[in-house]
C-alpha cells in the first residue's frame, strides 16, 4: 500500500496541489474569494452547463448505439469477431488530434453524410456527440459485453419455460444482472465525456467549451492561473462525485452472479431477427468506427509508392532533430517503461485493496486511484514543472517524466482489471498455504500469481496501449529529440505543406496499427473474468 500511496502523493497530488496553490496564493496570502468570483461569471456557469449536458447526452447516445453492440459481441459467434473487437477499441486509445481530423471526413464537408444527404455537422454540437460515441463505444462493449457474455443464458431460458414473454424474461432476469455493469459503463463514459478536451476543441470550434478546454485556455493561453485553479477545483469535485458513485456501483456489481465461460454462451445467430441485429451492428461499426479510421489510411497512401512512409525516414523536414520514424521507437520504449510502472503500482494497489483487513480508508483509495483520469493534463503538466524542480526530485529534464505521467493514466486501468480477479481468489486457498508454512511471498507466487497471470498481462496490455496514445501530458514534457508518435503527429500537422500533412497521416496510421496489434494480442489473452476493460 505504501508504494502506490507514495507514488500518487509525489507524482499526482503534490504537483496538482502546487499548481492550484500557485493560482490562489500570491505573496503568501490565499485568495479564496476568487472561488466565488469565478463562479459568479456567467461565462463560467455557461461552460459548466455545457460540460454537463453534453456529457449526459453523449452518454445516453453512446449507450443507445453501443448496447446492441455489447449484446452482439457477447452472444453471437461470427468470423472476425476478435479482430473487430480490437478494432472498435482502437479509437479509445488513439490521440484525438488524429481522430478529430479523420472524423471530419465522416460528418464534415464532402463527408459521407454530406454526399448522401447534403448533411454537414462540423462545428455543431452533433459532431461532438457523435465523436464521443466513436471514442467510447468500446467502453460499453467491453464493460457490459464482458459481463453479458458470462451470464448463463439458461436462466433466461428457464424464465421463458415458466411462461414469461421474451421481453419479460429479459427485463426480469437479464436486465437486473446487467444493470450494475451498464451503470458502471455509463459512469465511465460520463467521466470521459465530462472531461473531454481534444474532441471539443477540434470538432466544436471556439463556440463550445468544456471545463477541461477552459482550464487549458486559462492556463496555457490566457495565463490566468487563479481562474484555472478554481476551474480545476470544480472539475476535481465533480469528478470525485462521479467516481464515488462509480465505486459504489462497482461494489454492487461484485454480488454473486452465476457466471459461465464466455465461449459457451456465444453461438451463431438464428432467425431473421438475430441476423438483422448482427447486420445492423456491423453496419454501425463500419460507418461510425471503421470508416473514419479508413480515411486516415487512405490519406496516408495518397502519395505514389508509399511516398509519405518513405519520407518518415529522412530528417529533411526540419520539424525534428531526428527522422520522424524514430518516434515509433520512442513511443514504444516510453510505453514499456510506463507499463512497468503502471503494473507495479497498480498491481500493488490492487493487492492491498483486496486484503481482507483492508479498512474503509483503503477501499476509498480505490476511487482515488481513478482521479488522474479526470484531472486535466495541462494541470498535471504545469504542476510537474513547478513542483518537481529541485533535487532529489528534479525530474523536469529527465526522460522518466514521460513514462511517469503516462503511468498515471495507466494505473486506473490496471487496478480495474486486476481487482475483480484478485477478489475472486478464494481466501481459504491463501490461508491453507500459510498454515502449511508458506511465506507470504510464496503464497503470492503459488496461489495468486497463477490465477492472475493472464489478468496481469491484459492489464499490462491496456496500460501499454493507453501510454502509446497519451498526448496531453506527454506533449508537455516530451523532449524535442524524442517525440512520441502522437507528439510527432501534432508537430507535423502544425506545418504547411503536402509532405508534412502526409507524414502526419502515415504516422497516425502506424500508431493505429501498433495499437490494434497490442489490442489483438489482448484479445488472445482474454480470460473468463477480465474485469472492466
Amino acid at each position: 500500500m505504501a508504494a502506490p500511496v507514495a507514488f500518487f502523493a509525489v507524482f499526482f497530488a503534490y504537483p496538482v496541489a502546487a499548481i492550484v496553490a500557485r493560482g490562489l496564493k500570491t505573496d503568501g496570502t490565499w485568495h479564496l474569494g476568487r472561488i466565488t468570483e469565478v463562479l459568479a461569471q456567467s461565462d463560467v456557469r455557461h461552460v459548466l452547463w455545457f460540460t454537463t449536458w453534453q456529457a449526459l447526452v453523449s452518454t445516453a447516445l453512446t449507450l443507445l448505439v453501443a448496447l446492441p453492440g455489447a449484446y452482439v459481441f457477447a452472444r453471437f459467434e461470427f468470423p472476425g469477431k476478435q479482430v473487430l473487437r480490437a478494432v472498435v477499441t482502437v479509437p479509445f486509445v488513439l490521440p484525438t488530434v488524429v481522430v478529430g481530423t479523420a472524423f471530419l471526413a465522416l460528418v464534415g464537408r464532402g463527408g459521407l453524410l454530406d454526399e448522401l444527404w447534403g448533411l454537414r455537422l462540423d462545428t455543431t454540437v452533433w459532431a461532438i456527440l457523435l465523436a464521443h460515441v466513436f471514442f467510447n463505444y468500446a467502453v460499453v462493449v467491453r464493460t457490459v459485453g464482458g459481463l453479458w457474455a458470462q451470464l448463463d443464458p439458461r436462466q433466461e431460458e428457464a424464465a421463458r419455460m415458466l411462461g414469461a414473454s421474451q421481453l419479460k424474461a429479459w427485463r426480469q432476469v437479464t436486465l437486473p444482472a446487467l444493470a450494475p455493469a451498464v451503470a458502471a459503463a455509463a459512469l465511465m463514459v460520463f467521466l470521459f465525456t465530462f472531461t473531454s478536451f481534444g474532441v471539443v476543441q477540434i470538432l466544436g470550434g471556439p463556440t463550445f467549451s468544456t471545463l477541461e478546454v477552459e482550464i487549458y485556455r486559462q492556463t496555457s493561453e490566457i495565463f490566468d492561473l487563479s481562474t484555472a485553479a478554481v476551474l480545476t477545483m470544480i472539475q476535481f469535485v465533480a469528478v470525485g462525485a462521479i467516481l464515488a458513485v462509480h465505486a459504489w456501483t462497482v461494489r454492487r456489481r461484485e454480488t454473486a452472479l452465476r457466471l459461465v465461460d464466455a465461449s459457451v454462451t456465444a453461438r451463431r445467430p438464428r432467425g431473421a431477427g438475430q441476423w438483422a441485429l448482427l447486420g445492423g451492428v456491423l453496419v454501425t461499426v463500419a460507418v461510425l468506427l471503421v470508416l473514419p479510421l479508413a480515411v486516415l489510411v487512405q490519406r496516408s497512401l495518397d502519395a505514389p509508392g508509399f511516398g509519405y512512409y518513405r519520407a518518415l525516414t529522412s530528417e529533411d523536414g526540419g520539424v525534428f532533430l531526428v527522422p520522424p520514424i524514430e518516434a515509433i521507437g520512442n513511443s514504444l520504449s516510453y510505453a514499456v517503461a510506463a507499463t512497468l510502472i503502471a503494473v507495479l503500482i497498480g498491481g500493488l494497489a490492487a493487492v492491498a485493496l483486496t486484503r481482507r483487513d483492508a479498512g474503509r480508508f483503503v477501499r476509498g483509495f480505490d476511487a482515488l486511484l481513478m482521479l488522474p483520469l479526470g484531472v486535466s493534463a495541462v494541470t498535471v503538466g504545469f504542476g510537474f514543472l513547478i513542483s518537481l524542480d529541485e533535487p532529489p526530485l528534479d525530474l523536469r529534464s529527465s526522460w522518466i517524466l514521460v513514462p511517469l505521467a503516462q503511468a498515471l493514466v495507466g494505473v486506473p486501468f490496471v487496478v480495474r482489471t486486476m481487482l475483480p480477479v484478485l477478489r475472486a481468489v478464494d481466501v481459504r486457498l491463501r490461508e491453507a498455504a500459510s498454515v502449511l508454512g508458506a511465506s507470504p511471498w510464496r503464497v503470492w507466487r503459488e496461489v495468486d500469481l497463477p490465477m492472475v497471470r493472464r489478468a496481469l498481462l491484459i492489464a499490462a496490455g491496456f496500460a501499454f496501449a493507453v501510454s502509446l496514445g497519451e498526448f496531453g501530458a506527454t506533449v508537455f514534457i516530451a523532449r524535442p529529440d524524442r517525440p512520441t508518435l502522437p507528439v510527432a503527429v501534432a508537430r507535423l500537422l502544425g506545418r504547411p505543406g503536402d509532405l508534412n500533412y502526409g507524414q502526419a497521416m502515415a504516422l497516425s496510421t502506424i500508431l493505429m496499427v501498433v495499437c490494434a496489434v497490442a489490442l489483438l494480442v489482448l484479445e488472445r489473452l482474454r480470460t473468463d473474468r477480465t474485469g472492466e476493460f
Partner: protein, 345 residues
C-alpha cells in the same frame, strides 16, 4: 526491453544549470535549425547545445515564466511582440546586448535602454488565398482588409480564435492597427456579416478548411481564404514532392500583421556565459541565413540573403500593420474579450 530503456536514458543528464559545457535553449515547437550550423557553433564556442521545445509559443512563454526562479535552460527563444510584455513584466530576462546587435535593422529593435531581449526573426501573418479557386471563378483575389468585407468574398474566409491561436490574435491586432481603437469592432461586424468562419486553431483552419493547402485539398476544404503566414506559400513548395512550378497559394499583401520574435538570457540562467555566446550566435550571419528555410521566417539583420523560394512565393509585405508591444500589452485582454463576444456569440 532493457535495451530500449537504456536507449531512453542515454541522452539524459548534462542539461540545465551547473554544467558549464552545455548551454540549453528553451523554445517553442517551431524551433528548427540546420545540424551543421549548430555543429559549427558548438565547435567554435566549445559549448554543446541542448534544445528544449516547450509546446506552442504561448505555452512556452507561460512555462518559462512559471519556472523563472529555477529555469529549465539558459536562453529563451521565441517570445513575439504579442507576448513580449508578459515576459518582460514578469522579469523573465536579464540584460545582455549580443555582439553584432548593431547589424539588426532599427525597425525591429525594442527595449533599447535595457537590452533584455534581442530580435531574432520576423514574419507576417496574412490572409492566404487558393490560386486555383480564384482562377476557376474568374475572381480577383482580395488585396486588403477592406476587400475582405466585400460581398464578392462572402463566406470565403476562415480565421482562428483570437483567444487561443497566435495567427488568430495577429489578425485581430492587424485590424485594430488598421482601423484603430474605435473602428475595429465595426470592421469585424462587417466581416461577420460577410460570413467569416472562426475555428479554434491554425491546424484546423489551414489543414481542414482552407481549400488551397495540401491538407485542405485532401480534407475537401471549401474556404479559399485563410489567415496564415506570408511564408506558407513557399512552405507549400518546399514540402512537396515533386516540387510544383509555382506555389498553389498566394498572399493578400494588404492584410498583413508583422510579428517579431525575440530571444533573451533567462534571469537565473545557470550558464549565463554560454547563454551569451548562444545569443551572439543567434544574431550572427550564419544563423540568420540558415533560419528562413528551417523556421519559415525572415532574418532581422542587414544584408542577409533570403532563399529564392521566399522572394518568389512569399515576399515580405511592403507595408504591414505593426503595433508597439506596450500598446498590445495594454489592450490585448480587452480586445480579445470584446472580439469574443462580438464574433463568437
Amino acid at each position: 526491453m532493457a535495451g530500449a530503456l537504456a536507449a531512453c536514458g542515454s541522452s539524459d543528464g548534462g542539461q540545465g544549470s551547473g554544467d558549464s559545457k552545455t548551454v540549453t535553449l528553451v523554445s517553442h515547437d517551431s524551433w528548427a535549425a540546420s545540424k551543421d550550423v549548430i555543429a559549427a557553433f558548438e565547435k567554435q564556442s566549445g559549448y554543446k547545445v541542448d534544445v528544449l521545445k516547450d509546446g506552442d509559443a504561448g505555452q512556452a512563454v507561460n512555462k518559462a515564466i512559471l519556472t523563472k526562479d529555477n529555469p529549465q535552460g539558459d536562453v529563451f527563444f521565441g517570445v513575439d511582440n504579442t507576448l513580449l510584455s508578459r515576459a518582460l513584466d514578469n522579469g523573465l530576462f536579464q540584460p545582455y546586448e549580443p555582439k553584432g546587435s548593431d547589424q539588426i535593422k532599427a525597425e525591429y529593435r525594442v527595449d533599447q535602454d535595457k537590452h533584455r531581449v534581442t530580435p531574432i526573426d520576423t514574419g507576417d501573418i496574412c490572409v492566404n488565398y487558393d490560386k486555383k479557386y480564384f482562377a476557376d471563378h474568374k475572381l480577383e483575389p482580395p488585396k486588403s482588409f477592406d476587400d475582405l468585407v466585400e460581398p464578392r468574398y462572402k463566406n470565403l474566409l476562415v480565421t482562428e480564435n483570437a483567444s487561443a491561436s497566435s495567427p488568430g490574435l495577429g489578425f485581430l491586432l492587424g485590424t485594430a492597427a488598421k482601423y484603430g481603437d474605435d473602428g475595429w469592432e465595426g470592421y469585424w461586424k462587417k466581416l461577420k456579416a460577410n460570413g467569416v468562419k472562426v475555428v479554434d486553431g491554425w491546424e484546423q483552419a489551414y489543414n481542414e478548411e482552407f481549400s488551397g493547402s495540401a491538407g485542405g485539398k485532401k480534407a475537401k476544404g471549401d474556404r479559399p481564404l485563410v489567415v496564415s503566414y506570408a511564408s506558407s506559400p513557399p512552405a507549400e513548395v518546399v514540402f512537396a514532392d515533386p516540387k510544383p512550378g509555382t506555389a498553389p497559394t498566394g498572399v493578400a499583401e494588404g492584410t498583413c500583421f508583422r510579428q517579431v520574435e525575440y530571444a533573451g538570457l533567462l534571469a537565473n540562467a545557470g550558464n549565463s556565459k554560454g547563454g551569451k555566446a548562444l545569443l551572439d550566435f543567434l544574431v550572427s550571419r550564419k544563423f540568420q541565413e540558415d533560419m528562413p528555410l528551417n523556421m519559415f521566417v525572415y532574418p532581422v539583420t542587414e544584408g542577409v540573403q533570403v532563399p529564392p523560394e521566399f522572394v518568389k512565393y512569399g515576399p515580405q509585405a511592403k507595408d504591414p500593420e505593426t503595433m508597439d508591444p506596450a500598446k498590445i500589452a495594454g489592450h490585448r485582454d480587452q480586445w480579445v474579450k470584446s472580439w469574443t463576444s462580438l464574433v463568437l456569440k
